[in-house]
Symmetry: C2
Subunit: 138 residues, 2 copies
DNA sequence: TTACACCTTAGAGTTAGGTCCAAGGTCAAT
DNA sequence: ATTGACCTTGGACCTAACTCTAAGGTGTAA
């Protein structure tokens, strides 16, 4: 059994984060001491690893809640469910990447058009393009 | 001169947004009517176009404030300043894209490893990989 | 027993960029 | 004179995921 600070240190999160996860239904300590201290067991530890791992994979805490509920009741869910969920997430990530690539391309165009000299910015093509609005397509 | 609603409609933003921009030092109407209505001129209109345009290019409102202050005092800034600023922004966007691509790759690996069948999720490789933590490198 | 590190709670604050609301004033048309 | 569309303000609320504070209880070692 771990106290909150032990578990936090073990997996490099803060105690605040653990209390936050509990409050939001992601990780409930398996017990409390007589004096009210949170006590976590190894199953809790693995759940926290799951949460951290899933976060790194781009899942939000809300997503993770859903994944955990599937995990808890594995019997009534299929591989198909989990895969669909993950594919949907991938699609969201794909969309974000597309948006950022469009922005990247706009910025590159701005940078290419500007000579970057030490002369006054009065005629800087970056500023004038932004002023003129449709200088860049989006 | 435009009232707030006119300008908002013209550039497809809300009046709330215009008041928000004013409050945050981005766009101050050139005048007020005798009864306190905000009045915007064509220079204000162009500034708003600038803001919208820069936002589309991935600049935050804080960035845009800085760009506007350069724009207002073009004389004491060089092309070089503006270009550096934009390059720095591009670098931030590049970093975000890299992070997302790492996430994308993790998700793809998860999806590939899961057969997606209608059988129970008890042995779903997505769930077990997330449980095992280091199943995916980050 | 006193110091000190640990733990508890409720609740406020953070960031970014708005969005919404209430209570009320203004303007044009009927 | 009364609609109804417009405008004003201050301030609360929203998302996401924490982060911090205050005020206090607990555990252990010197
Ligand atoms: Zn992962
Ligand atoms: Zn330039
Ligand atoms: Zn642009
Ligand atoms: Zn599976």
């Amino acid at each position: 059994m771990y106290q909150i600070g032990e578990l936090a240190k073990k997996l490099s999160v803060t105690t605040d984060t653990l209390r936050y996860y509990e409050k939001h239904g992601l990780l409930k300590p398996s017990a409390r001491s007589a004096t009210g201290y949170r006590l976590y067991n190894d199953s809790n530890l693995r759940s926290l690893q799951f949460i951290i791992s899933a976060k790194k994979c781009g899942f939000t805490l809300k997503d993770i809640q859903e994944l955990l509920s599937i995990q808890v009741d594995k019997g009534s869910h299929s591989c198909h469910d989990v895969k669909s969920f993950t594919e949907h997430k991938l699609q969201q990530v794909d969309e974000k990447i597309s948006e950022l690539i469009a922005i990247q391309s706009s910025l590159k165009k701005l940078i290419q058009a500007c000579d970057g000299g030490d002369k006054s910015a009065a005629n800087c093509s970056i500023l004038t393009t932004l002023e003129d609005d449709d200088g860049i397509t989006h």
